[in-house]
Amino acid sequence: MGKIEWAMWANEQALASGLILLTGGIVAVAGQFRGWQFAAYAIAAGAFVCLLEYPRSKRAKGTSVERTGQYCFTVCVKSFGPLTRNYYVRAFLHAALCVPGGFVLATVLGCVCLGIASLIYLAAAIRGEHWEPILPRKKEIRQPGGSVANPPQNPPPRPPPEMRRKRVDDVEGAAYDNPIPVSD
């Protein structure tokens, strides 16, 4: 169990809770239930939680998988800096957000689910995890063949001139050894 990043599961749970809060809120407002004002708040809170949780964090170890179209959300969430990076902040934020949901039945489920997500985020924060944005990597274009900016300063090492002269009398003993057999 050592490699688990609790924040990943907390994120899924929080996203689900946001949707449940949203749905419960819509039902209560549309049905004009008693206390629908709390439900209206739940719609706003649910939508906010969904937007905050949609961009998945980069994993500390392993390949990260983005959610479809999360890049714009990543940029928005990233701009809040330490507020969104730190999971303690998120844990307390979710705990605070979920409380008003408990006052109307329609949003109680969303409230409890968000509370659970807050607890898992707390566990993640205690283990030192934090939110990292997934940004596209700039691929380095490497020149094939290397750079031509620095030509070699010295000629390649060669055997002394006496040996380099072609010895017609002793072709076998000549200095060069053709790697690929030469045929006429």
Partner: protein
């Protein structure tokens, strides 16, 4: 088209039947609660939200019954074994058990949402009726008390609680309400930890949280208790609602309208789920018994690139080609079972698996094995299986094209060995005369053991003069500059520089058109079976090529693509 029917027909039929049953249950129960007379007064208070709550409840009963069945893998194997008569297509459906489990789970989630929303509406409207917000009939109905002469209709009995909190109060003070909240919470936790991303990255979170299903089923069975859904009972003299609905002030005082009585029905869900629950308990018992059976190690080999080969023997263990087993090592983790495809042939007197380093559990296992002294027995190991439909179709074709991509070559180790054994003893079940084997991988790292196997087979075939029985091609799709340099330098050697095999390694992906052309040219009159163990994209490509290169003329080459599930 014919190929589609063979490959997908039975699955589609099963799905259509399942969907039809769902729709039937939904509509049937919807109309019971929407049209039946005994619910007239209940409907007066709740409107169609009553039917919208009860119809998904019926669908939920059906699906909760089904969801436990596909995960009873031992019982499925028993089932599969007894199906020997009914053809492979039937048995192959059992391989799609996990897909079916997920489909049923999605249905349960959807129906829970509908059921929940309908009940939210119901509670709000019961509350309003109780507080006299609606018409006189509603108020009269809600005022009916639970005494000897009347029995209540509206489950909200108390009016002294705060009006906004009454629904919440009822939920948390009734059996149906509390169990409903608990099991919905369990369901949500199960679903969020079962998302593919979490499953693939943090399997333990998925596996342990999934056991909340015990809480789910326990709560589900008692959820219907409490007689909350109430219908009108027959009184003596009878209370006719058409006559009496507008005369609620006179109920009990005029002979034709006695005070109506209401009652609820007993919980019914347990009728649906008790069978599968018992089967599942049997399944876990069976897994435990298998786990207790003794497993002996024949050989333990460490291959290069941290691949561990375990050769084991177990009493009464019989396998077929392409099957897989689950391993559990209590020294590493008491509760984790991990699946591995077997790499040995059924003709051998042991069974083997090749385990790559791919996570916590495998790393620890390799570690333990490396520290063992020579010739010692390994740690206690529980083996469950074998599972999976055997890939026996491979033996039926005169010419076979086997394509393995990446880790997908593992079942082919078993298949190739089995084919060779069958060939040596001239097993009549083997109709194969020629095999074309295509091995695609990014790099041979972690697959050197397979290259060794091919080398051994190659030598044996040469020794028997059967050099062209097996033609294999290796495609390295992850090559770079250093590979090229290496190849150029060793160009002249007899054996391949990467694998040491006689066949040279190709670089990049295969050109399937060329390959199919070659197979067709060399086998002008045969039926060729194509088998793939690899990514779905490749399956589509191969399927198209099979269709393209098959000849309409029955005397010429025909390609059949077999969608195998390894």
């Amino acid at each position: 088209m014919g190929n589609w029917i063979i490959n997908h027909g039975l699955t589609s039929l099963i799905l259509v039947v399942w969907m039809a049953i769902n729709i039937f249950l939904f509509v049937w129960y919807y109309f019971i609660y929407d049209l039946n007379e005994e619910y007239y007064y209940t409907r007066h208070l709740l409107g169609s939200a009553l039917s919208w709550a009860r119809a998904p409840a019926a669908v939920l009963n059906f699906n909760c019954m089904l969801i436990l069945l596909p995960v009873c893998r031992n019982l499925l194997s028993l089932f599969r074994g007894s199906f020997v008569c009914c053809g492979r297509t039937m048995r192959k459906q059992l391989d799609k058990n996990l897909s079916f489990h997920k489909l049923v789970a999605y249905t349960i989630a959807l129906m829970t949402a509908v059921h929940l929303i309908a009940h939210l509406l119901n509670l709000e409207w019961y509350n309003n009726s109780r507080r006299g917000v609606y018409d006189t009939l509603s108020t009269a109905l809600s005022d009916l008390e639970d005494t000897e002469n009347t029995t209540y209709l509206n489950p909200m009995r108390r009016t002294d609680t705060d009006a906004q909190q009454s629904p919440t109060f009822l939920v948390f003070t009734s059996i149906a309400g509390i169990t409903g909240v608990i099991i919905t919470l369990a369901l949500i936790l199960i679903i969020t930890s079962s998302m593919e991303f979490i499953r693939r990255s943090y399997f333990e979170v998925f596996w342990y949280t999934h056991h909340l299903f015990v809480v789910f089923f326990a709560g589900l069975v008692i959820h219907g208790a409490g007689f909350i859904v109430r219908k009108q009972l027959t009184t003596d003299p009878p209370h006719n609602y058409t006559l009496c609905k507008d005369r609620s002030a006179e109920w009990g005082r005029i002979p034709e309208c006695p005070i109506p009585k209401f009652g609820g029905g007993p919980a019914q869900t347990w009728w649906w789920v008790i069978g599968p629950m018992i089967l599942y308990v049997c399944e876990r018992l069976l897994r435990f018994i298998r786990y207790m059976q003794k497993v002996q190690y024949r050989k333990i080999v460490m291959h290069p690139s941290k691949v561990l080969e375990l050769q084991m023997v177990k009493d009464g263990f019989k396998m077929d080609v392409g099957q897989y087993i689950f391993l559990n090592c209590p020294a590493i983790s008491e509760l984790e079972w991990h699946p591995f495809t077997m790499t040995s042939a059924p003709e051998e007197d042991f069974f083997s698996v090749h385990i790559r380093s791919a996570g916590d559990w495998t790393d620890k296992l390799i570690d333990i094995m490396q520290k063992l002294p020579e010739g010692a027995q390994g740690p206690k190991m529980g083996v469950d299986g074998p599972f999976g439909t055997a890939s026996e179709d491979v033996f039926d074709y005169e010419v076979s094209m086997l394509v393995g991509a990446g880790i997908g070559i593992t079942p082919f180790a078993s298949i190739l060995k089995s084919i060779w054994y069958k060939f040596k003893i001239s097993n009549p079940k083997l109709r194969t005369r020629k095999i074309y084997f295509y091995w695609l991988c990014r790099e041979t790292h972690a697959f050197e053991w397979f290259a060794d196997l091919l080398q051994v087979l190659e030598k044996e075939m040469e020794a028997r003069g059967m050099g062209d029985f097996l033609t294999y091609k290796l495609y390295l799709t992850g090559w770079d500059q250093s590979h090229i340099t290496h190849v150029v330098v060793h160009h002249d050697e007899d054996t391949d520089v990467v694998t040491g095999l006689k066949q040279k390694t190709h670089y990049g992906r295969p050109e399937w058109d060329k390959e199919f052309e070659q197979v067709r040219k060399e086998n002008p009159t045969s039926v060729v079976g194509t088998f793939l163990c690899g990514p779905a994209v490749l399956a589509k490509v191969l399927e198209k090529k099979c269709a393209k290169y098959s000849d309409v003329d029955p005397r010429k080459t025909k390609f059949y693509f077999n969608k195998e599930n390894f």
